[in-house]
Amino acid sequence: MTTVSFEKVTRRYPGADRPAVDALHLDIADGEFLVLVGPSGCGKSTSLRMLAGLEDVDDGVIRIGDRDVTHLPPKDRDIAMVFQNYALYPHMSVADNMGFALKVAGTPKDEIRRRVQEAARILDLEAYLGRRPKALSGGQRQRVAMGRAIVREPQVFLMDEPLSNLDAKLRTQTRTQIAALQRRLGVTTVYVTHDQIEAMTMGDRVAVLKDGVLQQCAAPRVLYDEPANVFVASFIGSPAMNLQEARIADDGVPLGGGRVPLPRGVLAAVAAEGGDRVVVGFRPEALDTVAPGEPGLGMAVSMVEELGSEAYAYGTLQGDHDGGTGAGSGTGSLAAGTGAGVVARVDPRTPPRKGERITLRLRPDGTYFFSATTGERLPNE
């Protein structure tokens, strides 16, 4: 059990025009479950592999505890890793797979057997210890891969998308099991995933990466409530936050036939940038359906997604077709992922119908403002 720190760690692949990981700076506390999340190619796996010692570090320092491990081979780092495809040794039984690291380390045989038994009991694998990996189901293989890590009693667990090969139901189950197991063992864990739900449900803290750059590292709630920039805002949360870029007029922005007043801090920040545009963000659940005719945003519903406990209406805000206000135009890349459409959470008992026009009210505390040039979130006061 120990801390892990990345200090301005950079990895450049030869021939690539930008670093795969760019000056990553992260401190992971003892016993913490840290999730690295981001779209594919964001450098999350590379970061993990650098911590494992499977990838060279071009710049910066990685520490496990007080030890500088930057240039140590994997075997000297006292880490255990669960691979995306499990990488079980096919020519060994489940027990031998789990005990391999101990055998390499020269642990006495009865000690190995005891620890393998213990891990098998925790993971419900006792009946399969004599089997070869090919005679196991996907979920069982995943557990063997976990077992191989647990048996080691390492200082740090590394997990590289360990659930991505499981079907949806099993993934949800295993997600909770892994999180519970980690809490119980109290071993510092770094977990890589591209799935923001996995990240939010499992992590003590979540580090969001994009293009090799750390965007924000915070507790799930903080990421959700206080996203640092447009990318984090759109990446965290499902359905994603609605983002609309608009020109500022009369200290406010037009939105869906209405007008959203801008806080003074936002106006000052935009003025300091010398721009006249701002990205407005609001989550689907920040919209309340109100009676038609009341002041609010008009929305033409084009699709309704009913999930049972909740329902979402997809459509366009009134006035969006005028052009220029949709997020797709202007700094399209900043608000990408939402298109020009808007998603609103609606009452699942009385959802609107396709083609209907509804009126929505935006909760005042549910509005975010982002710089149209940098994408950074602007102060809300």
Binding site: G53, L54, K75, Y89, P90, V104, A105, K134
Partner: protein, 278 residues
């Protein structure tokens, strides 16, 4: 095809397989049958020997022919060639499959290109060189050229084999406390066994059947390999070609190959890596 009944389709399938097998085995069968004929009816056309006779085998194994010695020479030459080529090819192929370096494709192409020279074109220069080395009538004069012919194929074969092995296996082993070398020895080599046995068989057969180099580099009967010895069998008189004993020797030379393939094919189990990933 849909109009054929399943039974007929199956029948045709077996007929096809039988035809191919018969085509491949016919020469060997004729050799076997001829070797069991008496010298007097060596040119008989009957599909079975009319009078079974082992006189050819007795003649071949007669100490004066020194054929047993030639067999032993063949075992030594082919055995050492296979063992050394396999070790070298394994290391080379692993490097080719796993290391990233410049001109890798060029190196691989060069390796395969070396096997493209016809043996005939290099046998004279080799002979001159080996005379200078004093290697005539030595095992290494046969082993070294044999290796150079078999290595390229062995390297390519094993490179393809190592490439299809998930790299995470070594990574997992390295995280589990192995050095790269230990990961190779404890994880990769056991899994590569089928590929290595296949390569060993191909190499052994090539080295075992090698004729031209073995013929050129030896002039003492006690250093001849089996194929050379067979070519030098003499009949009772110089006007008589010893077909019978040549056939018997041919059968004897083939037997070790058959045994080797039978022994090793049990190890050539496809899908040994099944269950490693996913």
């Amino acid at each position: 095809m849909n109009t054929l009944s399943p039974k007929l389709r199956k029948g045709l399938l077996y007929a096809g397989v039988a035809a191919v097998v018969a085509y491949c085995l016919a020469p060997f069968y004729w050799m076997l049958v001829s070797s069991l004929r008496r010298t007097s009816d060596i040119f008989a056309n009957s599909p079975f020997p009319t009078r079974l006779s082992f006189e050819n085998y007795l003649a071949v194994l007669d100490p004066s022919e020194s054929f047993t010695r030639a067999l032993l020479n063949s075992v030594v030459v082919a055995g050492i060639t296979t063992a050394v080529a396999l070790v070298l090819a394994t290391f080379t192929a692993y490097a080719m499959a796993r290391l990233e370096f410049r001109f890798k494709r060029l190196v691989l192409t060069l390796i395969i290109a070396t096997s493209m020279f016809p043996v005939v074109s290099i046998v004279v220069p080799l002979l001159k060189m080996f005379v200078d080395f004093g290697w005539i009538n030595s095992y290494q004069a046969m082993i070294v050229p044999s290796m150079s012919f078999t290595l390229p194929l062995a390297v390519w074969n094993l490179t393809a084999f190592f490439r299809q092995m998930p790299q995470e296996l070594e990574h997992a082993a390295m995280v589990d406390g192995c050095t790269r070398g230990q990961a190779f020895r404890r994880i990769i080599v056991p899994l590569a066994a089928p590929g290595m046995f296949t390569t060993a068989i191909i190499t052994f057969i090539a080295a075992w059947n090698e004729f031209l180099i073995a013929l050129s580099m030896t002039n003492k009967p006690e250093m001849q390999t089996a194929p050379v010895a067979i070519s030098k069998f003499s009949g009772a008189s110089q006007f008589e070609t010893p077909f019978g004993s040549q056939m018997a020797a041919g059968v004897l030379v083939t037997i070790p190959l058959v045994i080797m393939v039978l022994v090793f094919q049990r190890r050539i189990v496809a899908g040994l890596t099944a269950g490693a990933a996913k």
